[in-house]
Symmetry: C2
Subunit: 141 residues, 2 copies
DNA sequence: TGATAATATTAGACGATTCTAACTTTGTCA
DNA sequence: TGACAAAGTTAGAATCGTCTAATATTATCA
C-alpha cells in the first residue's frame, strides 16, 4: 500500500503526463515546490513499488498499476473539487486546496455516492426548488 | 502547527476525556492500537507544543489551546460523518472511517458551508421533493 | 567541439512516527 | 506489608520525507 505522500507524487506524475510530452524529476519538483533529491527519493520508492518506470538520468512513465491507481486518486480529487465548488460554492482556489487534502480519505463507495449526489443536486434540485438559492444566500454570509 | 498525527492524538485525548474520569498513556494506546512508547513520544510532542499537560507518571489534560484545537478537529469530524451517513447514506462504520481520514483536510469555511448544506438537505429537501428518494435508490445499487 | 547550463544522482543530516526491549514507578490485594 | 501487575519512561532501531551540498550526466549553443 502506498503512503499519502506517495499517492500525491503519483497523482502529480499522472497530471504532468497529460500536460507534458515527457516528465522528469525536475518537472515534479517544480510542480510540488520541493527539491530534486526529495523527488528523487519519492520516485525511487514508487519504482520499488512497481508503480512507475524511469530510464537512467531520464524520463518517468506510469506502469499500468500506477496508471490505474493514479486515475482513482484523481477521480476522487475531481469529484470532491466539484462538490466543494459547484455545490457548496467555495472559491475555485479553496475548493482545490480542500480537495487536495481530502482526496486520499474517500473510498470508492463514497466517491460513487458523492458523484450521484452531485448529479442529483444539479439536475433536480437547482431548477424547481428554492432550497439551493436559500442555502447559497446563507453560505455567502 | 501540528502534524496530522499530532492532531489525531489530540482528538483522541479530547474524546477520551469526555468518556473517562482521567486519561493516561495506556488509554490512548488502547484506543489507537499502538504501543505505549509511541503514545509517549506523541504526548511529549504535544506537551512541547503547549497543547496538553501531564503530571509525572500521571494523567493527561488538555490546555486551553489544545482544547480549542481539538474541538475544531472534532467538529470537522462530526460534520463530515453526518454528511456521509445521513446525506450520502453510507453505513455508520464506513462513514466513520472516511470521516477519520478526511477530517484534517476541511478548513473552517468548508465546514461552515457543509453544515449549512446538511441542514438545507434535511429540512427542505427530504420532505417535499422526490430527488432524495431517487438519489437514495440509485445510491443503494 | 568544448564550455556552460540544466538535470539527475549520491551522501549525509534531521524530525516525525513507529517498533521492541529494558527499566522505573505506581497501584493493588493476599 | 510485600509481591505482583499495571502503567509510564528510556534507549535504540527502522522508515519516510524532507533538506543542503557535492557530484555525475546530458543538453545546448557559441
Amino acid at each position: 500500500m502506498l503512503t499519502r505522500k506517495e499517492e500525491d507524487y503519483l497523482e502529480t506524475i499522472y497530471r504532468l503526463s497529460q500536460e507534458l510530452e515527457s516528465v522528469g524529476i525536475s518537472d515534479i519538483a517544480r510542480e510540488r515546490g520541493v527539491t530534486l533529491p526529495t523527488v528523487f527519493s519519492a520516485v525511487s520508492r514508487l519504482k520499488a513499488n512497481g508503480m512507475i518506470s524511469q530510464t537512467p538520468y531520464g524520463k518517468i512513465s506510469l506502469n499500468p498499476k500506477g496508471q490505474k491507481m493514479a486515475e482513482e486518486i484523481y477521480e476522487s480529487h475531481r469529484v470532491l473539487r466539484k462538490f466543494l465548488q459547484e455545490v457548496l460554492g467555495l472559491s475555485s482556489e479553496m475548493a482545490e486546496e480542500n480537495a487536495c487534502r481530502m482526496e486520499h480519505g474517500l473510498n470508492r463507495e463514497a466517491v460513487r455516492r458523492l458523484k450521484l449526489f452531485i448529479d442529483m443536486v444539479q439536475n433536480c434540485l437547482s431548477k424547481e426548488n428554492s432550497c439551493m438559492e436559500e442555502f447559497q444566500g446563507k453560505a455567502r454570509t
